[in-house]
Amino acid sequence: MDALLDIPVLGFILQFLVYLVNVIVNGHIAPIILGLATPIALGALCGVLNERSGVVNIGIEGMMLFSAYIAFMIALLVHQAFPAEPSSVFGTTPALIMGVIAAIAAGVLISLLHAWLSISVRADQIISGTIINITALGLTSYLNRLIQPFDSAGTFESFRPPAALVNLPGIGWLFEMFTAVGPIAMSVIVFVVIVQILLFRSRWGLRTRAVGEHPKAADTVGINVIRLRYRNVLMGGVFAGLAGAYLTLEATGSFQNNMTAGRGFIALAAMIFGRWTPLGAFGGALLFMASQAIGVAIRLAPPASDLGAFLAGIQQTYPSMYNNFFTGLPYLLTIIVLAGVVGRSIPPAADGKPYEKESST
């Protein structure tokens, strides 16, 4: 083994892989990966619900951003009106709960705009989504400048799983990954499984897929295409809203302009990577964001041997580029995945096509 690791380039790559596996299993990095992947996975769920019923949603980014702002502001207002001690479970306060509810409402509200533009008005769905992104960015920046909050309602706290379970050899890290996180991150796996089951095992799921593949046929057998699409887009808004709430009420505790930073688009790529299935999209989200978490891992637990020396050398000479490299990896992976997978990953047949019921005259 040691002889193998001494081969020039291959050895380096092997060393890195060994290090990666080691840091994920023993480095307590798994919860960070889930945390980074949470808004991506929730955004991808929003995308799956939309696109399975034939509505393209480029506006997830804007929905997330707007919800993040609303979540933060509502939580702050409630916090200032009714200050309360954080409870022992997740550090929950009434303010945080109200913030999450408001975020979901905001997500649904913007989804309504997207649904109206793309289903009823039959506007170009990609332009509709882009307009939502532009408007959300402008509106949140405007409000943020206007009010400039110096206070915060705090954040949800992460759960502390019993040490005995975390330290289980081999699988402890998996257990830690899904429990040593806040409530929204913890709920993601539940939502993913529920939507996966409903989409492929329920009457609603069958109808959704029918409308997304062949709306005319679905209409012929008595499914209300317009109503089903509206319902799905609005339900997608719930997940986009939750993703926004995660950013301000669980991950950071503050709001910055354009804090979504392209996550809505990475979510779309995760959805395409997962072939429009919730489980696949979740896997994509984990994979994309793991690349960003590696940067954190190397900082927390630098690899030993010449690999560590090599990385430390780069960081010393090019600190900014070194940091930006890890920040940029998910974006790069998104492009690579789109370029490599999209040809073989087939979207719902009616995706992006407005449905017009033929008049009965």
Partner: protein, 372 residues
Amino acid sequence: MISRPRSYAGWVLVPALSILLALLVASVLIIASGVIGRQRELDLLLPLVAYRSLLVGAFGNLRGIANTIVAATPLMLTGLAVGVGLKAGLFNIGATGQVLLGGFAAALVGTQVADAPLFIAVPVAMLGGILAGALAGFIPGFLKAFTGAHEVVTTIMLNALIQLIVSGLVNDIFRVPGFSFARTATVGNAALTGFGGTTIHLGAIFAFVCIPLSYWLLWRTTVGFEIRAVGANPTAALYAGMHPRRMMILTMSLCGAFAGLAGAIEILRLGYYPAVFGTSIGFDGITVALLGRADPVGILFSALLLGAMRAGAPLMQIEARVPVEIIDVIQGVILIFLAAEIVVRRIFRLRTTPEAGELQTITRTYGEKVVG
């Protein structure tokens, strides 16, 4: 989108009404800003005060008019960067990244030719920006043509990547000492300075020339016809012996070149490239293109309109205490009304013409097969 409008009156009406409606919606927000902002009072006339200072700031005196033209200059180019793409059925929202790369390249080339005479230094630095922008447009165009990766997602990702790469390069390699922040060396003679005591600079001429140039390209040349044909129906274009893939790559590169020139102009005006270079001209280009219906003449007027808003906003912020970010909100609301053209027509009881709903089928989803 392939044919010229039948009458300009009907063609201009809906954008104009959308602007009007957006200003109405924004006035509600402005009144709200009076209530929750620093003044804490309900002032129903505040929107009038704000819009008045916006107008005065943009057109009130020679300096205001000059500022409007300077602000409109890059917007014409980013408007073309989005608009020409729309003609080919491509939605280029990567103008931001193309602007950054173009500006960065112009700064690097500019420092190399800093001592050359002005009439060599400026065009050479601009050419650097144009080529770099074209490269930034080529990548998503190539990916779209040969893998089907949707340009909306790839260009947004490239925006983030280019920003990270360029700021990393400036911080680690091209930083010059002696300043409190990371920036490149000065571009010397390649800098764009105002003439006649105003802020208007040479770049404005380049931008104004690009408008008739792209009009000629789109409507008077074979390439332009192919671009529009591919935008209207790639399959039909293929069977007519055209090359949809080649056209997609060419169009995206051209779009990137326009945005790259815009970035070059902005950076050469500044004189150096700062590691943190925030600019809204990339996203403003989307508004300009959609408001101008992807037509060069329309883009010229929407760029002037948006430039006026950008130039007048600071005075509005001082006099009416309305944050300049209100311009971003107004843009978004204009776009919502434009997209809902049918609704605007219904509000004003206009007849629905064949041109109505032009925004409906410009772009293609990633569901569509790659043709070519």
